[in-house]
């Protein structure tokens, strides 16, 4: 499977195409029918060759992993589904009831419902995949449209009525698998299909041909016309299909990122600030680009690359306050003796604010859980909010870095002596 963004685009294309086909349906058009049928023929042919390949490989390798079997099954079943859908939509054009009584929009919905019914039968065979099945049937289509409208204001930009799409749920192991492309000969895994193809060259001359090295053609007809959405395997998550307000994830990439960000440890630590932790490597890389340049810091630990963002944040939450980057402040004091006191001051300020800001952080947590995580552009916020928790809830706030940690411990003794001893005597 390819995890780049392109498949999504193609899916959309397909959807539009299907829509176009639907508009033509009301009138019986032999030309369109013919083209549809040839489409189907082509697809079946492709599937056939694919199964053929699998059979061949089965002969070659005996110790195949379960995963591989599952993947192959998945592929085949996906293609089969799409073929069935096509077939039904083609056949649907001949049904007199559909031709006349409903609007175009209803047509598509009903077609999908028909698809669902077929899918139920399909699913039975499919051990790995569980399909979300819409409860409605063609007879109560208008009601479903009503529900559709109710659902509209939920979610993150995409408002699909439940049941209008197919739901896939990958297992945890699958999501976290480092490799998605495996050599069918030696079993070596690769992240990218292209790498796999390069690898395959070592297995024989037949893999060196231009055809086998070329990027597999993304045949439009290969893609299913049914919308496919993904569910997070973590039960209780809003992205899990069992959830009341289930919000599906758009692509497998989204699934992977969501699962890692939300349900996994943040194992990648920024080497620059030694503070920020990420579970998705790409997030760390993005952070590292900005790390150190995010000079606008809030007392809750959140950093901002722009001053107005910081001030908007501070204005929104009670108890949060802008904080100066500590190194800058230390630098501004020339006198050695005084700078000690300064660091303590800065340290203590941070301490007070972070512990006093917990009420604001509560709000943030609520926001956090509401937030959608699958959008890569918003990948920052969850991390930032986590930083808040980090500070607010622990009794002894973990120090951001070793340097400031030193200053903090220094603070306690130093300020004590300052108030009760030496400095004051000097003053007197």
């Amino acid at each position: 499977m390819d995890f780049e963004d392109e498949p999504l685009g193609h899916q959309k294309c397909d959807k539009e195409m299907a829509g176009d086909a639907a508009t033509k349906l009301p009138d019986w058009d032999p030309q369109a029918m013919l083209s549809n049928l040839s489409f189907l023929e082509h697809k079946i042919h492709q599937l056939q060759s694919m199964v053929h390949l699998i059979v061949e490989q089965e002969d070659c390798i005996s110790d195949r992993s379960n995963e591989l079997v599952a993947q192959q099954q998945q592929l085949v079943s996906a293609d089969l589904t799409s073929i069935i859908v096509q077939l039904i939509s083609t056949a649907g054009s001949l049904l007199p009831s559909l031709k006349t009584s409903h609007s175009v929009a209803n047509d598509t919905v009903e077609q999908k419902n028909v698809v669902k019914h077929l899918e139920i039968e399909q699913t039975v065979n499919n051990g790995m995949e569980q399909k979300y099945v819409g409860k409605c049937n063609p007879a109560i289509a208008p009601i479903e449209e009503h529900e559709f409208k109710e659902e509209e204001d939920v979610g993150d930009g995409e408002h699909l009525p439940p049941g209008s799409y197919e739901v896939l749920q990958l297992e945890k192991e699958e999501i976290l698998a480092p490799h998605t492309h495996f050599c069918l000969i030696c079993g070596k895994g690769f992240k990218r299909d292209a790498n796999l193809r390069m690898h395959m060259r070592g297995h024989g001359d037949q893999y060196k041909t231009a055809a086998s090295l070329a990027k597999p053609a993304k045949d439009l007809s290969m893609e299913p016309t049914v919308l496919r959405r993904y569910s997070c395997p973590f039960v209780g998550c809003k992205r899990n299909k069992e959830h009341n307000k289930f919000q599906p994830l758009k692509t497998i990439l989204c699934v992977k990122n969501h699962y890692k960000r939300t349900h996994c440890d943040k194992s990648h630590i920024c080497s620059r600030c030694n503070n920020k932790r990420f579970s998705v490597m790409a997030d760390l890389k993005t952070h590292e680009k900005h790390c150190g340049r995010d000079k606008w810091l809030c007392s809750c630990g959140t950093t901002f690359s722009r001053k107005d963002k910081l001030f908007g944040h501070v204005a929104l939450f009670q108890g949060h306050t802008p904080v100066f980057p500590s190194d800058e402040t230390i630098g501004s004091v020339s006198d050695g003796g005084e700078s000690n006191e300064l660091t303590t001051k800065v340290g203590s300020t941070g301490f007070n604010f972070s512990s006093g800001a917990s009420s604001g952080i509560d709000i943030q947590n609520v926001l956090d859980s509401k937030n959608s995580e699958d959008d890569p552009s918003s990948s920052y916020s969850p991390m930032n909010f986590d930083a808040c928790n980090f500070y607010g809830f622990s009794d002894f706030p973990p120090v951001p870095s070793e340097v400031s940690g030193g200053s903090l411990s220094f603070l306690l003794s130093e300020s004590f002596s300052f108030r009760n001893g030496g400095s004051l005597d000097d003053a007197l």
């Binding site: 802008p322 004051l424 003053a427």
Partner: protein, 657 residues
Amino acid sequence: MERFKPFEFLSDEIIFTILDSLSSSPLDLKSFSLVCKSFYSLESKHRKTLKPYSTELLNKILTRYPFVSSLDFSLCPRVTDKTLCLISSSIGLKSINLSRSKFFTHLGVSCLVSNRCLSLTEIDLSNGINLNDSTASVISEAKNLEKLWLSKCVLISDMGIGCIAVGCKKLKLLDLKGCFSLSDLGVGLVAVKCKQLQSLDLSYIPITNKCLPAIFELPYLKSLALVGCCFIDDEGLANIRQGSMSLETLNISNCPEVRHIGLSAVTNGAASLRQLIIAYGSPVTVSLTDCMQRLPMLQSVKLDGCQVTSSALKTIGDWCISLRDLSLSKCVGVLDDGLSLLVARHKELKRIDISCCREITHLSMDSITDSCNSLTSLRMESCSLVSKEAFISIGKKCLFLEELDFTDTEVDDEGLKSISRGSRLSVLRIGICLNITDEGLIHVGMHCPKLVELDLYRSPSITDLGIAAIAGGCPNLEIINLAYSRDITDISLLSLSKCTKINTLEIRGCPSISSTGFSAIAQGCKRLTKLDIKSCFNINDSGMALLAHFSQSLKQINLSYCSVTDVGLLALASISCLQVVTILHVEGLTVNGLIAALVSCRGLRKVKLHTSFKSSLSQPLIEHIESRGCSFQWRDKAFQAAVDARSWKQQLEASTL
């Protein structure tokens, strides 16, 4: 037999009440505390405010006055962190003024706001050009702070003010005048966080329209100053949904882009607005004045320096409310027809300022005197077209006048005679009035016992006779200016020495005055704080010696062109509270004398010297003096001969034409 002690019957509370009424005169309090030990300790307990001259003895002072809650360091140029630490550990401070002090940092301020000083509600850190954001973040720990002055703290940025906004939620007054580093973000945050604000000064901050809506939504805001916020325009003000209901004073001077559209947005619904100041703004047109018509509580309008039209003034006359205070000083386009119609309707006007409205004549003055009979203050400096007769009618019809500024007008003795009938007069400025002679002054002296300030700057016909009449009849005189009145001699000063309340005396350019008269002043007027004896060539060391001996509260003196030598200057240097000295072209002064004086006079804040001395003073010495908080101003003026008043005025007019 036991002695009868009458004061033992008085409870502390009663004595405290007596002391309360004495607190206006520090010398009396001093005398009280010197009576006996119990009075001394009572006075110590009673005192709540201190304004020390130096921080050197602060330790002892704070021990003596344990209940002091307000400290004013505006006379101490040098206040260090140590001092502030000492204060924070000794007394429960409520208010501190550091606006004129330097040499402290955020560390000292952090002592002030920490632990013991939870009671601290007022901090004045104005002119703290070295204070940065760390100071601001330290201030933000003063949770109970209600009043904060930070004007001209140019280094404090949005980050600093953001900390203050979050930390000091109880702020009622915030002065950010001239904090150039601030922007919309910081100011906007202040408006969002400090909901208790009643007074906000944002003058000369480069704020734009963005932060205005939040500011105008502050629920308790009474006073708002946006002077010189040149990025604010009509468009931004029009975005305000409704003008502030609580706003009482609005100052939008020097905002050239604010015109009637913006003003109408601001005044829409501003039911409490009493004072509106739009000085040096866009031209005052009919549509602008129409905006103000809807304000039911409006009492005071200041349009200083604006271009006005007669029709706009007429529309002000058509308002149904009656103004109390109107200022058109330096306005261009104020003509008789507009002004006459205006004042004819606003009969309750108490204060009128038409300084430098040069076009107006007796016609305007007639309508002012006819309609505004309750006038208390009239300022008409440089209204030179107003005839002598008009002043007579002012005196006849306006009997409640307290303040009069006739500087540079045609007022004569008859006018003064008429005016002096209103015995409430306390301020009279008749400088550069060439028609005035002793006769007029004698009338003033006879009928104006409440006179506090008299300005006779460049009055060539005044002699000792007139001054004697003033000195005899005006015992409350505090400020008198006799500069360049060349016929004044020692006799005038002898008579003025009876006015013991005099604190400001200007006798610059009176060549007949000698040390004899000056000594009399020094002995008689012990409250003297400001003295200008420039070009009094005959004042010498003997005068200085007496001055140094008697006038222990002298703060400021100009000695240029006097016959003072090292001895006189050293004597002067013994005055502990002397802060500002100008010494130019003093022939008898040597470098050594100057050095000795500079070193011994520890309270100095500003010294104006001729550039020729700069090379003679060593750099370490200058640095030492500067480290005590004194700043040097070097002047390179050539020696000037004095000019008499008439030719001076002719020169002035020739140069302006």
